[in-house]
Symmetry: C2
Subunit: 502 residues, 2 copies
């Protein structure tokens, strides 16, 4: 145990959410705050989660033939200006380097807010014939977006880490297929690794990525705030960028003429860690799914008192060490906390704050009985299991915890997703911290209207609760489309998932 | 085979080195040039090498208890100014963001040229007692140094990738020990992975990292230029930074008083890829050691002519495919090049440019004889081996190529390292593209003098060849120290390794 043993979470989610969040992420040593607003340190505990996500996703895209590369962070003004819609969207957040070594730069350069404008000139150069297709590259890198809204660690930062995949295809069908394959892998990151259920769907026109034909998304639900949160997006860029950047090949049907390629881009960021924290954690601090927990099992010797013999005490400490070794040999990230100057209660608290999924208590009585006492972090379940075959038993427990956390989050999400048939119904739903499905026309103006009508203000006109937006148009709405749009008088064409959001 | 099959290397190292280098790195698709000077794209072939280095080094430092983290890229002016020597050295290369989203920033922020000034304020916060020591973190990230000298891809860029390790220890001895352990792992990256022999040593006073107590280094030799090149450095920072940044713990000998911790920092960059290219490649293009080659074995069907039967031809193509599959199953990165519209000669050329270590030729006669023909990229060795047990045989061949490449580079390096006892001797050595060992006083002024006296100029006073500098003071000079320094009249205290450099 380190110095931080004395720290526990003082704030509660209900009473002071911002403070609870800050305490939860800092006291668990996931993250620290930088002296530049919107920038954060990803500490080893936090980076461990990111590396786990990275390994999972890399294996998936490697199997799809995606290759890893690294493109420059700097982009010239001329390249950035090539795709107008895209630029217009990102320009307000772009950071410019204008001075180097004390001298002004003749041509200031921007730092990537995303890399379409950096990567596609290379696509134009590298793709000369259909034999060079498909081209699929991915990079893991840092991104800088000078947001002016209040930053929130992991969720919305100025600098953050992400992966961005960029691909080019000869046929639209092939590109379309890939958009969904990637979305499935993103859903895998959330559901299989982070134990966070997501809804797959398509973004509304208003929420589509600037320059894309369409954007697919996965959306998660944060119980404490009742808000939806965009978890990752996979875009079909169609030929919008390829026309602007001149990425084309000879059209086999019209020899001598060029045809633009079909492009996709897709990204997943360290926001995923934030979503995992928001979905699972509680007022005692972090709760981590076993797959991403730096420490999966903590072993705490218990029942050592003034009355127990020195021999008993030694046996307990030895048993804890041996158990740690046998769990590690089984590939379980185990840690025994043998300090004798700290009480078991303090240790429990210390490891709970850090979200360790499974606590094992070993005491003299356990050793006599050949048992171990287990406590699940996620729901405080207690169990007594046999010391024999402990590594296998505990591996199964970790699997069970992982499954439980997903199922629990899914139940909560489902119970808090309602179907509404009016704006009033939608407002009531979001006031009750729910997401709502509603039949909808899908139009931008209508979405603006819905947002406005669900925005709450006090008597002075100050906004007290943001309006609902369309999180996505779910691929599987599981509810029939009604005739009329809830937002306007037009016919409904889809079921939208609405909610307050991040 | 892609479109690039038509490309071969036109320039030679002897006649036009810069063009040869550019062709070698671009036609092998390792790298591409960006429209901002000093920035480059690391293409999948190049990134593969970096990932291999990363995996090797990560395993070594993980075993040392180093944890991975990520610190912000941006640094405030006040933090950057905390360590004066350090700032003075980096200030001329620091890039500043002064404008975001079209508006000037009130407090401009710098982009990391290295992260001591970013990381150590956290060390001060995280280290409260000796129980928090040692603290060992490493990050893999991008760095920006606005160099004004001519950039060279991989070797000297403005943006580059590296790892930077930062550690804090209670005792100087422990910190000193780690400096050398890391240096050993860096030597491992070069010698075991990249097949590049290095000399381990200590930097002269003049070449020591700004703010360090001492800098250890590994130095490689580039035969074509006859120059030495700094390959990686591991610094003992002593208490210089910890005093400036207030990183201390209570002194157990003087309770109530703080004692600063001992710090190290150590870095290895994508320059390592450049060194590997410079050391091994030849006028036909890239030569890659098997351990870092994206394709280790290329299989080319040969001997298919108008006279061979369709049945024979099919058998050859099938045998090539089967061989590819069996090699892959053995963990060998194999590729069969089955295109029938391209001649074997063109294929040989194509894969040679990319540095594929081993070519396998399969023809009808080979199949009749149950043999395969092998050609080593590194030295054009040809062999005929049995088709039976080909995976095992080829795995051994790859090991042999890796070993050969190291030994060959070592022989060349050793033959071109001489011992000199005068400035004239040193000048002659560097003119003959050699490195030279010389007894030396180690003083900064003397090093300046040596550099000046070995700089060559034409009649107009224009520098035609740079002076020699001390590459390092080798730990194992393998030659006795003479009484007098070669640069001045002072007594010699060490043997220095001198040479022209990058």
């Amino acid at each position: 145990m380190s110095k931080t043993q004395k720290f526990s979470i003082d704030a509660t989610q209900e009473e002071d959410f911002p403070r609870w969040y800050k305490e939860t992420i800092t006291k668990s040593e996931l993250l620290d705050y930088h002296d530049i607003n919107g920038c954060y340190v990803l500490r080893p505990n936090g980076y461990f989660i990111w590396n786990t996500i990275k390994a999972y996703f890399d294996a998936k895209i490697l199997a799809m033939g995606v290759e890893e590369a690294y493109f420059p962070m700097l982009v010239s003004k001329s390249a950035l200006e090539r795709e107008k819609d895209h630029l217009e969207n990102f320009a307000p957040e772009v950071a410019w380097i204008t001075e180097c070594g004390g001298k002004p730069l003749e041509n200031p350069v921007a730092i990537r807010p995303t890399s379409e404008a950096i990567i596609y000139p290379y696509f134009a150069k590298w793709i000369q014939s259909y034999r060079d297709l498909p081209l699929k590259v991915n990079q893991w890198c840092n991104i800088l977006r000078w947001e002016t809204t209040q930053p929130m660690p992991f969720i919305r930062g100025r600098e953050f880490l992400w992966q961005e995949g960029h691909t080019a295809h000869f046929a639209r069908e092939e590109a379309d297929k890939e958009v969904l394959e990637i979305l499935d892998h993103y859903a895998g990151v959330y559901e299989e690794v982070l134990a966070v259920p997501v809804v797959k769907g398509r973004k509304s026109i208003k929420e589509t990525f600037a320059g894309a034909d369409y954007t697919t998304t996965i959306e998660a639900f944060v119980p404490s705030s009742g808000r939806g949160i965009q978890a990752a997006t996979s875009h079909s860029l169609g030929t919008n960028f390829s026309r602007m950047f001149g990425v084309g090949v000879e059209d086999p049907k019209n020899p001598g003429t060029q045809t633009p390629v079909f492009q996709n881009s897709w990204g997943l960021s360290t926001r995923s860690i934030g979503v995992c924290i928001l979905v699972h954690s509680d007022n005692r601090g972090l709760v981590l799914p076993p797959k991403v927990a730096p420490v999966q099992v903590v072993i705490v010797p218990c029942g050592i008192t003034k009355k127990t013999t020195a021999e008993d005490n030694t046996r307990v400490l030895e048993a804890a060490s041996e158990l740690e070794a046998s769990l590690k040999a089984r590939g379980i990230r185990a840690k025994s906390d043998l300090s004798q100057s700290v009480s078991p209660g303090c240790k429990f608290n210390h490891w709970e704050v850090r979200g360790v999924p499974l606590r094992v208590e070993v005491g003299p009585r356990d050793l006599q009985n050949g048992t171990l006492s287990l406590v699940w972090r996620a729901n405080s379940t207690k169990k007594t299991v046999s010391l024999e075959n402990a590594p296998e038993t505990l591996a199964s427990e970790l699997d069970a915890i992982q499954a439980f956390m997903f199922t629990q989050a899914q139940s909560v999400r489902d119970a808090r997703t309602v179907v509404v048939d009016s704006i009033e119904g939608l407002l009531k739903a979001v006031q009750q911290k729910q997401m709502a499905k509603a039949s909808w026309c899908g139009e931008e103006a209508c979405e603006d209207g819905i947002k406005q009508k669900t925005t709450e203000k006090d008597q002075d006109g100050t906004v007290t609760a943001m309006g609902a937006k369309s999180l996505c148009i779910p691929f599987k709405p599981n509810t029939p489309i009604q005739a009329q749009c809830i937002g306007c008088t037009s016919p409904a064409i889809a079921v939208g998932l609405f909610g307050r959001s991040y």
